[in-house]
């Protein structure tokens, strides 16, 4: 018989304001085996933990139930405390009476009853708990960074500087990411390429960094410290070792009609291409969907002109398999599609562009060589209207509910740069709110208004009307003047919302990392563990976690690197002892458990089994506890009930259900 202690936390008023904690204590004392129950304002505090210690010592507790917040928050805290006071940590159970109870209920009587039931279920489980011992697993001292933008590059450099090997996997032909497409960066207006390319070079030259461009993660297995990852290295059709990056192939390529992704489709590129001049590696790829050789078999110009003999049309995709201790997801963002925003005439007029397209227009390496001109007729625009929050802070399903965070600042930047370089061009900005928190940010915005005469209008635009003469009419509202505005413009720029790159679901599924309703990756804790995924060994860097600008991205990238370094610095990790175990007497060797196991932890062996005196060779399942992650898939699949999960046995779970239904 267990001697159980129940500890009910007030969590300040988080729990106590909705749950009658005294009543839960009173009810706990009526439970069989409960020899001690008490409540305390902050059970997780030092004082709270020592109360648990005292009770263990004085009452000889063998099991503990803490009625508090989610086990994701403090299970580890209380298990460590129990261990400190001489109790096996796996004799501690958490009844979540905060997230599952007090936070979601208003009625005290109802919430108290539910808290009591949750406590009862946990007590019923503890009765069947047995002490478990954590095993150990080795740590592979190498990290994988998925995504080669500024977030991925910074994370990789920081990890590599600490002396660990890092691989960057980037799906496009070059590292650099979104930042490489930008012209200038706020609030200092330094040139994006000037501060990014040295980092790209540093990453490429770093002895501890391996870069796989034009590659994608195909499969991930394993667990924290021991991931095995298949990486598909897409066929470049160009030998990366032979190519000298001279660029003749791109010049001579006769297929030049593919929209240039790097310039947001504003001009065309050749079928064999490097995305931009400073690309790393400076080795082109052949876009086989555009290449005449691949489409008709007749061409081969690039092969003929290549002095280095680097062109190889026979290259095939290659899958490489690598082992990693930690994985960082830094897969970045894109702007949302504007097909649901017909009122802005984005698809109807070439002179309505997104802000990211404007970056390319204003960039010296862009489609207009940095000249600000209308894409329809090449004329210099004299009136430019910026529309903010296009798809951000949106209450219907056309856009995103969140603030994209970077648009107010880059719009102020664009407005200021245009007024500076083309003083006879008028700039008007329609905004809902101007949000400029950040060091030197509001000063920057005020400079745009006060020193550069940018005309800010509080109000939204209802329609952009292309006129027969090629100009645009912007129909909006000035909320402060309370009047409708009809403004003629030569160019309209849409501050388009950003969203995580669409491959997020695929990557999240591979990593069993969770994503939120907006497809951003979820943090282990939004405040206290912002760069860790709830999946151990998976870390978050950059906009993949949420909208952020370059300084924040770089800071977060460094934070993710620190977490990775902390993990890789360990030689061994404690493994979760809550693993599956098969009862050899019940197992009939049917293989169903092995078929559902996502970790490949179950194998079979033929064993001499003594079944109540009958000795025979049987094929039985064996669980490799180093690989098993305790997901429980096998236990519910097993038709003979042989498979069970330690710490979450079928008996324990049914005891909980019985207690709830009592």
């Amino acid at each position: 018989m267990q001697r159980i202690g129940v500890f009910v936390c007030h969590c300040g008023s988080n729990i106590a304001a909705t749950v009658d904690v005294k009543k839960v204590v009173e009810m706990a004392l009526k439970e069989q085996g409960v020899v001690h129950a008490e409540d305390y304002p902050y059970m997780c505090s030092e004082a709270g933990q020592s109360r648990i210690g005292e009770a263990i010592a004085q009452k000889g507790l063998t099991g503990i139930v803490v009625c508090s917040c989610s086990p994701r928050m403090h299970e580890a805290t209380f298990r460590k405390a129990a261990e400190r006071y001489g109790l096996n940590p796996y004799m501690v159970e958490i009844a979540n009476i905060r997230e599952h109870c007090s936070w979601i209920h208003k009625d005290m009587a109802e919430a108290t009853e539910k808290a009591t039931i949750l406590m009862r279920a946990a007590v019923a489980k503890v009765h069947l708990n047995a002490p478990l011992q954590a095993g150990e697993s080795m740590v592979t001292k190498r990290a994988l960074v998925i995504g080669g933008g500024i977030a991925g590059i910074q994370t990789a450099i920081d990890i590599a500087d600490a002396g660990y090997k890092v691989d960057i996997v980037e799906k496009t032909p070059s590292i650099g990411g979104r930042m490489s497409q930008l012209d200038k960066t706020f609030p200092t207006l330094d040139c994006s390429a000037c501060i990014l390319t040295p980092k790209m070079v540093e990453a490429a030259a770093h002895e501890n960094i391996t870069i796989h461009t034009y590659s994608e993660v195909e499969k991930v297995s394993g667990f924290v410290g021991n991931f095995t990852v298949d990486i598909r290295k897409k066929a470049r059709m160009v030998d990366i070792d032979k190519c000298t990056g001279c660029g003749v192939c791109q010049e001579k390529c006769p297929s030049k009609k593919t929209p240039n992704e790097f310039n947001r489709g504003l001009n065309n590129r050749s079928a064999i291409y490097t995305p931009f001049a400073q690309a790393i590696p400076n080795v082109p790829v052949i876009d086989t969907t555009a290449c005449i050789k691949f489409k008709t078999g007749k061409c081969g110009v690039c092969q003929k002109v290549c002095q280095a003999g680097a062109i190889d049309y026979t290259q095939q995709d290659e899958i490489i398999t690598e082992n990693y201790g930690a994985i960082v997801v830094a897969t970045g963002f894109d702007t949302i599609k504007l097909d649901k925003y017909g009122e802005y005439a984005y698809g109807q007029s070439k002179d309505v562009i997104t802000s990211l397209e404007l970056e390319r227009v204003m960039n010296a390496a862009g489609p207009t060589k940095g000249h600000l001109e209308r894409l329809s007729d090449g004329k210099a625009p004299k009136e430019i209207v910026f529309i903010q929050c296009v798809g951000s802070r949106c209450s219907d399903d056309r856009g995103k509910p969140y603030c994209s965070k970077i648009c107010c600042m880059y719009t102020a930047k664009h407005a200021m740069l245009i007024r500076d370089k083309y003083p006879d061009t008028n700039v008007t900005v329609f905004y809902i709110d101007v949000r400029t928190p950040g060091k030197n940010f509001d000063e920057f915005y005020r400079r745009a208004v006060e020193d550069y005469g940018v005309n800010y209008i509080k109000g939204q635009v209802g329609k952009v009307i292309p006129q027969a003469d090629g100009s645009l009419l912007v129909q909006g509202v000035d909320l402060l003047d309370q009047k409708q505005i009809l403004k003629k413009a030569d160019m309209v720029v849409l501050a388009t919302a950003i969203e995580p790159n669409p491959d997020v679901r695929k990557i999240a599924t591979m990593l069993t990392a969770s994503i939120d309703t907006n497809n951003f990756l979820t943090e282990a804790h939004p405040k206290l563990r912002p760069v860790e995924s709830p999946t151990a060994g998976v870390f978050l860097s950059g906009v993949r976690q949420g909208p952020k600008d370059i300084p924040e991205t770089v800071a977060q990238a460094g934070a993710a690197a620190v977490k990775v370094i902390g993990l890789l610095a360990k030689d061994k990790l404690k493994t979760n002892p809550c693993t599956a175990k098969s009862d050899e007497l019940l197992c009939n060797g049917c293989s169903q458990c092995a078929n559902v196991c996502p970790y490949g932890a179950i194998s079979y062996e033929t064993k001499l089994i003594n079944d109540h005196g009958i000795r025979e060779d049987r094929r039985v399942a064996v669980v490799n506890s180093a690989l098993c992650q305790g997901c429980g898939a096998c236990t519910v699949t097993c038709p003979s009930g042989a498979m069970d999960l330690q710490g979450f046995s079928n008996r324990q779970i049914l005891a909980e259900v019985d207690a709830i239904c009592r």
Partner: protein
Amino acid sequence: MTYSYYPGCTLRNKAKDLDMYARACAEALGFTLEELEQWQCCGGVYPLGSDEIASKLPSVRALDAAKQKGQDLVAVCSACYHVLKRVNDDMANVEDIQTRANNYMQLETPYKGETKVLHFLEVLRDRVGFDELKKKVVSPLTGRKIGAYYGCLLLRPSDVMAFDDPEDPTILEDFIRALGATPVVYPYRNECCGGYISLKEKELATSMCDKITDSAAGFEAECLVTACPLCKYNLNKSGKLPVVYFTELLAEALGVKEGAL
């Protein structure tokens, strides 16, 4: 295929041609519009009062009649289509209206929005198919530059009407293309013509229509095509571009115009 058909009052008077061409075209395209035996005026406008029930009942009767026949209900007039579809949405989703309407109607089985309401253009797009329609065109309107005028009623509110993208619709342009003509896309094609305001403030409606026709003419449209009698009335008052019903163009292209009236 036979559809229940709700012509509406205007199609019996001022907009007779909208109705007659629609019927003739339907036959030419291989489906039948079977006029409901008894139908009443839809009211012309969808009543916005959330406690208003009486003026929704004619629509409920028409919707239930179609349900009894097991047919989809087709309208040609934008306003009728708008009212029928929105009342149908209320009957499916607004419990209070559903209960009160059914209490009043005393039907054997309560009506709960089961009928599918279709605009004739939707039948062309989703049932016949514009590719199929193109094949049936005998005298293509080649070379004609036609501006589609949608107005408000077909498109909005878009979550209920679910007819086309309210800001950048394409169904009429695709229709015009299927008839062999060239659609002229102009920005005011989904702006309001003024509707009934023309009865009270004629000049306001005229100025709204002028904006529409000026814009269309600027983009070199030779005529406008619409599905709404009121839009046609208002745009005609503006008088800058000829305005025709889409059914008339269709009848012309299908070669059934002469015999229709």
